[in-house]
Symmetry: C2
């Protein structure tokens, strides 16, 4: 088998599709006007069409109205704007925010920043599989609570929260509900009306769209305070020159997701998981077996260091990461696994595999072999492996 | 003469160069990793090279060190981060900010937002040509002043402030000095050390780079508070996945600026200005004749409505705008011209021409003819023209 490079890391899921690039290219050099200049001004008017088309495509996928969707620079900005925007605009109503202890850092760090502004934050614990407990959420609600921000799927384990139940509870208690759907958008059906979602973050580069473009759904009539000031763009909710090529690429990426693609990716994930677990002992699945996004698999290989496995896989041309990419520059164990009550030792032996449209069965089989061989060899020299 | 379309508006200056697009394309689909994941992980390491190369190219152009430059989503974010970042981080030192009354909306609206957070702001007046007066600035400084934010060149008139004098004064008074150099970067030599600049905003799309990418220079050792939270990217000053294709395009755009290009553009501007002024009476130059950026020309045609002129030029295939693009959706007269003590009537008759690498002498001559004919005809039917 001749496999040059296998991407089972963030690079896999964030590779831009060639068809997306082809769709974007003309908008760099031809229809390049600033969309906001639309008074008696042809290039500006021409630029509005791809902008509004992109907005309609993405809103439609969420069951939202186009005017409920604003473009931002990515998922991080969407999460910052949603949480700070609601907190600061509705502070008179209350100053308490509820979130989980396994959110992406752009939610986690934003809530920490708001704590310094005087807000109080509850970080809900999660179960061993990574789920929040609905009764915990209910108990955490006080008369000062204004916002609940719970992610749709987790960035390290893939565990998917029951956003419909959370949305229903928030609606009943008249709280704003934000969900970070960066990992599920385009992969799992989302209906913002059915799930009573008030704000929802998405990004293009997780579905083979370009980096530098994301969007935030803000339900009709909900007031948020801007985090980016400077003019009236995006319904006066986000200033800055519109990134028309990025928006065109985002819409194209959504259009390219075929109805059975997610099922195919899920089968690759199961193939890797089952293939490894059949051949290796003491491998532990981190996260939920059933309620998990198709693109993420997190395994702990007991008695070995995740970093060693990664280094050896890298030499075999296989790219994977430990924990979430944003965190990988640090050697601290993942705060997500820690919140799931997984020990330091187990967390250090964990590896995250990401799957994408571009992976093949052949790559998966090559990876199963590589992982099993490497882990076996590392266990042979491990001072803590029980077989020694 | 067969001219299909003449861009003398924002579209002109913001058109992406085809060579920039060519440089970016491989980074969408090939070296597409998340640059931050650089532990034992080849794709992440590959992505760091274009990131750090781009940083070095842009920093070098400013006389800055690479680690003093962080990438953001554009000029608007750079201005927001610079001003809010300094104000919020140094509030204990003082709560007073000085800026001018002709700044880009991303500075203006940001200072207004900070006023609501309890900061006090002085908006310095400008002269008839659009200059701040150094003695006004000096008088405005109080013991509570922490930051001076004055643009390098104005977005509507092109008038260039004396940033060296401002920088020297700020240094003497131990104040932070931020300048919005979005229009001058790559067009006018800038040396952040010589000019004592502490923070400086730039963007790619004003020099034929892509939209959605900009940068902020932050002098070594200066503390700012983040406006985008979520991880340690960009020296822990700006969270979010790095937009590698955008950064590659930004660096390419800088490399493409040839040493004599700005002179060529300046000659086109003078050709249009002199051509029109020779043939038309009562045309007024808004801004400075001498100290003005080569890419912008603002003229008032008395006794006519700017919007009418634009509509007629549009029918002849010539794209121009009134005032600044970000403001053109409103019919209010430009706040910049108002601050320059130009009457409502004169402001309504004003047109902004932008010049770029892609304009030709032929286009300029075609535009001179068109402008002169249109203004003459409109004046014939104007109820306020004195000749009637």
């Amino acid at each position: 088998m001749r496999i040059k490079k296998v991407y089972l890391d963030n690079a896999a899921t964030t590779q831009c599709d060639k068809r997306v690039v082809d769709a974007m290219v003309p908008f760099f050099t031809d229809t390049y006007a600033v969309a906001s200049s639309d008074f008696s001004h042809s290039p500006g008017i021409e630029a509005r069409e791809p902008l509004e088309n992109g907005r309609a495509v993405i809103a439609d996928k969420l069951g939202a109205k186009p005017e409920e969707l604003i473009f931002v620079s990515g998922g991080t900005e969407a999460n910052n704007l949603a949480i700070k925007g609601i907190a600061r605009a509705h502070r008179k109503k209350g100053d308490h925010i509820i979130t989980s202890s396994v959110e992406h850092r752009s939610v986690k760090d934003t809530t920490v920043a708001l704590e310094k502004e005087g807000f109080s934050v509850t970080w809900l614990p999660v179960s061993k599989e990574g789920f929040i407990v609905m009764s915990d959420l209910e108990k955490a609600i006080t008369k000062d609570t204004i916002l609940v921000s719970i992610q749709h799927a987790n960035q390290e384990t893939g565990t998917m929260q029951d956003i419909e139940a959370i949305g229903a509870l928030c609606r009943k208690k008249s709280l704003f509900f934000h969900t970070d759907a960066v990992l599920t958008f385009g992969r799992v059906p989302i209906d913002v009306r059915k799930s009573n979602i008030d704000l929802l973050s998405v990004t293009a580069h997780k579905i083979h769209g370009p980096k530098g473009i994301g969007a935030l759904f803000i339900r009709d009539g909900i007031k948020i305070e801007k985090t980016m000031h400077g003019g009236f763009n995006e319904f006066n909710k986000r200033a800055g020159t519109e990134n028309i090529p990025g928006i065109v690429g985002f819409a194209k990426a959504i259009e390219l997701i075929e109805s059975d693609e997610t099922q195919v990716i899920k089968e690759l994930k199961c193939r890797l998981r089952d293939g490894i677990m059949k051949r290796l002992e003491v491998v532990q699945l981190n996260g939920s077996l059933e309620k998990s996004i198709s693109t993420i698999l997190n395994l702990t290989f007991r008695y070995v260091e995740g970093e060693s496995v990664i280094l050896h896989l890298d030499m075999k041309g296989i790219a994977v990461i430990t924990g979430s990419a944003c965190f990988s520059r640090s050697l601290e164990p993942s705060f997500v696994l820690k919140a799931m009550d997984i020990s330091h030792e187990e967390a250090h032996g964990s590896i995250r595999f990401s799957f994408s449209r571009f992976n093949t069965e052949e790559e998966i089989d090559y990876t199963i072999d590589a992982v099993c061989n490497i882990v076996k060899k590392l266990r042979e020299i491990s001072p803590i492996a029980p077989d020694k």
